[in-house]
């Protein structure tokens, strides 16, 4: 086996280190004694919204919100005086667009003589679920960086220390790789959890909808029964009256039962892709939301000259359509306009079946548009939104069905376009729902 020379090894290590530096999920800066930025990784630039040349040689303080600049005074002194090896703190940063965001900063000394500092930040503005995972990986990172830092600070490197250091860094690398694998595993678990969460959220929405859908028939059932009793006391209860009322009750009960069936279909886990009617999916979603639409005085325009047959998971598609229409309803319910309308239109090309959902609600502002598909992002007040609906819609349509979900710019309201693959020809004669 060919032995790799330490120098060569060092180069490999260096490039690996560079890769970690550039691809880290954390924003990393390296600053000198006075806080002048020597290096910043892509993630950091992305978080702050600057180009590299705009930040190099600038003082880091320039990027920290004014009222937060002195937050770590005591800590940084201790660090500089070598009284602590590192510290972490929550800091308020100022982006190039003037927006403020909170991040957790981890600071350590890379070179204790030259007082070169390494700072790593994680955006905690949207921190919810990630918190736990992050804390764990941060702790691991911290240990590793400490070791890296202690080695890097050795300035005059002889052959012996060099190889010792190489060995150590190699060890760190292996650990990093392991950590990365674990991280990946963790992410997978997290994703599964999000899907589970989304499912719960969707179920909550559904139950809310059943309540909505049931309220009217339930009210009417109560009234019909009260009327039967009333008619009896007023001597109006004859055969005809009774039959008529019982008939009406049966109809209402059937209607309520149909609602339950519709909702059950919704959660039927069909794990096989199949051809299905897009028109029918939309129509049955509109059925489910009928009361909600009526309640909010929303008019639905759904025109189709011919049906479209899509290929994929029909129930997931149904849920996606539900999420989008529900979002439109929520948006329309807070507008004052008279002619609240959702219009749905179908189109197709050679491969894709496309549906445009348009509404004349509040629409998306530019910064909302950027975040609308982000997980946990919601504009709804209080506990009304989970921030999962559109995220899961995009994820399922794009990842599970090879489709796309995008926002089309419009002057008024919102337009969300959903495309999924069309049924293949040979499948076309096959059965679909």
């Amino acid at each position: 086996m060919k032995k790799i020379k330490p120098k060569q090894k060092n180069r490999i290590i260096k490039s690996r280190y560079q890769a970690i530096f550039e691809n880290s999920v954390l924003g990393i800066t390296i600053t000198d004694e006075d806080g002048k930025i020597l290096q910043a990784n892509n993630r950091w630039l992305e978080m702050m919204g600057y180009k590299r040349k705009e930040v190099i040689n600038e003082n880091i303080m320039k990027f920290i919100a004014e009222d937060n600049r002195n937050a770590d005074v005591g800590l940084i002194d201790k660090l500089m005086e070598d009284r602590v090896g590192s510290y972490d703190i929550e800091r308020k940063y100022l982006r190039s667009d003037g927006k403020v965001f909170w991040a957790r900063l981890f600071m350590t000394i890379l070179d204790s003589e030259k007082k070169i500092k390494l700072g790593m930040i994680q955006d905690i503005t949207n921190e919810k679920l990630e918190k736990e995972v992050l804390e764990r990986s941060e702790k691991r990172f911290r240990n590793i960086v400490k070791e890296v830092a202690s080695e890097i600070s050795i300035t005059d490197i002889d052959e012996k220390t060099n190889s010792k250091m190489a060995l150590q860094i190699e060890k760190i690398n292996i650990e990093l790789e392991n950590m990365f694998k674990k991280e990946l595993e963790e992410n997978r678990r997290k994703e599964a959890f999000i899907i589970y969460q989304a499912r719960l959220a969707a179920m909550g929405e559904m139950i809310g909808n059943i309540a909505h859908q049931w309220r009217q028939p339930l009210n009417n059932l109560g009234l019909i029964i009260a009327n039967i009793e009333d008619a009896y006391h007023y001597d109006e209860l004859d055969d005809e009256y009774l039959n008529h009322s019982v008939g009406k009750c049966k109809k209402l009960i059937q209607k309520m039962s149909d609602t339950i069936d519709d909702f059950r279909d919704f959660f039927n886990p069909n794990s096989v892709k199949s051809n299905f009617s897009i028109r029918d999916s939309i129509l049955s979603t509109l059925d489910l939301l009928e009361e909600n639409l009526r309640f909010n005085s929303i008019n639905v325009e759904f025109e189709y000259s011919e049906d479209l047959i899509g290929y994929g998971y029909s129930n997931q598609y149904l849920q996606s359509v539900f999420n989008i229409i529900k979002n439109s309803i929520d948006s329309l319910s807070i507008t004052d306009r008279d002619n609240k309308t959702i219009s749905i239109s179908l189109s197709q090309d050679d491969n894709m079946a496309t549906v445009d959902f348009k509404d004349n609600g509040i629409g998306f502002s530019k910064d909302i548009k950027e975040k609308i598909f982000d997980i946990y992002f919601t504009t709804k007040e209080g506990s009304k939104g989970t921030g999962l609906g559109l995220h899961i819609t995009k994820t399922t349509i794009e990842n599970n069905m090879n489709g796309s979900v995008e926002i089309i710019d419009t002057k008024i309201g919102a337009n969300i376009r959903v495309s999924i693959p069309k049924a293949t020809k040979e499948d076309h004669d096959g059965q679909y729902r």
Partner: protein, 258 residues
């Protein structure tokens, strides 16, 4: 349920506004059995029209309706200067909506699904409030608790006497008369009563007040005859309280009391 018909509610006109057909059909049956007169509307706009025309004593309304919702309708009614008690029946039970409703003088708030017993009790308590002062003053409380059929009979008799009176003494009988007994009051609307002579006088959209004055004089001068005729017909002493003539609408509005 021996007292079922003997309710204060028989003295009241009620306006019920609801957009959903089935609910309106069922609940209006229940209300109709218990009140003196029921008017029905399908939305806020119709509700206001009916309110102005029929001057109900209680309004029962749904909140969420197309065209004009319940809150808007009540705001309009308040703007017109009426403080008629309102009972809301709504699927909405959030505090914001309820507070909103209280602000515009809603008396009671009933959440769907409707408990009809509760609704009837609520209506009765509202009716008691309406008649509180009258009940204190009156000697004959039984008049207020009148049976539906008895009430109808009395109203028919009064109607006949007034029609006869107007026709005999003015030369022209009214096209129709509405009589409604409200507690110790008898409210009469006699429509299309104007004689040819009076119609000619107002044909150029002038002389309305002259005709109104004359007709008022007509009732005041013959007050005793009218009172005796009605009192004999229904076996109770009554008094003419007030006569108001609206020549533009060609209506005589006469109020009696027991």
């Amino acid at each position: 349920m021996d007292n079922i018909d003997k309710s204060l509610l028989q003295n009241l006109k009620v306006l019920y506004v609801e957009d959903e057909d089935e609910t309106r059909y069922e609940l209006s049956k229940i209300i109709k059995r218990r009140v003196g007169k029921l008017f029905i509307a399908k939305n806020g706009v119709e509700g206001i029209e009916s309110f102005i025309e029929n001057q109900p004593d209680i309004v029962i309304t749904d909140l969420k309706m197309p065209n004009m919702d319940g809150i808007e309708m009540i705001k309009e009614i308040r703007k017109l200067g009426y403080d008629t008690p309102v009972i809301i029946i709504s699927a909405l039970s959030d505090s914001e909506t309820i507070l909103n409703a209280i602000d515009i003088g809603i008396v009671k708030y009933i959440v769907k699904p409707v408990d009809t017993n509760k609704l009837v009790l609520t209506m009765e308590s509202v009716a008691e409030d309406i008649f509180k002062e009258d009940l204190k003053e009156t000697k004959d409380r039984d008049i207020f608790y009148i049976e539906k059929e008895t009430k109808h009979e009395l109203e028919e008799k009064i109607k006949r006497e007034i029609a006869k009176f107007i026709k005999t003494n003015s030369g022209r009988g009214p096209k129709n008369i509405e009589v409604f007994i409200k507690g110790n009051k008898i409210l009469v609307n006699a429509n299309e009563t104007l004689t040819l002579f009076e119609l000619t006088l107002i044909s150029k959209n002038r002389n309305y007040s002259l005709v109104e004055y004359n007709r008022k004089l007509f009732y005041d001068e013959n007050k005793d005859d009218l009172e005796v005729a009605i009192s004999e017909a229904i076996n109770r002493d009554i008094k003419l309280e007030e006569s108001v003539i609206d020549a533009r609408r060609k209506t005589d509005i006469i109020t009696f009391s027991f």
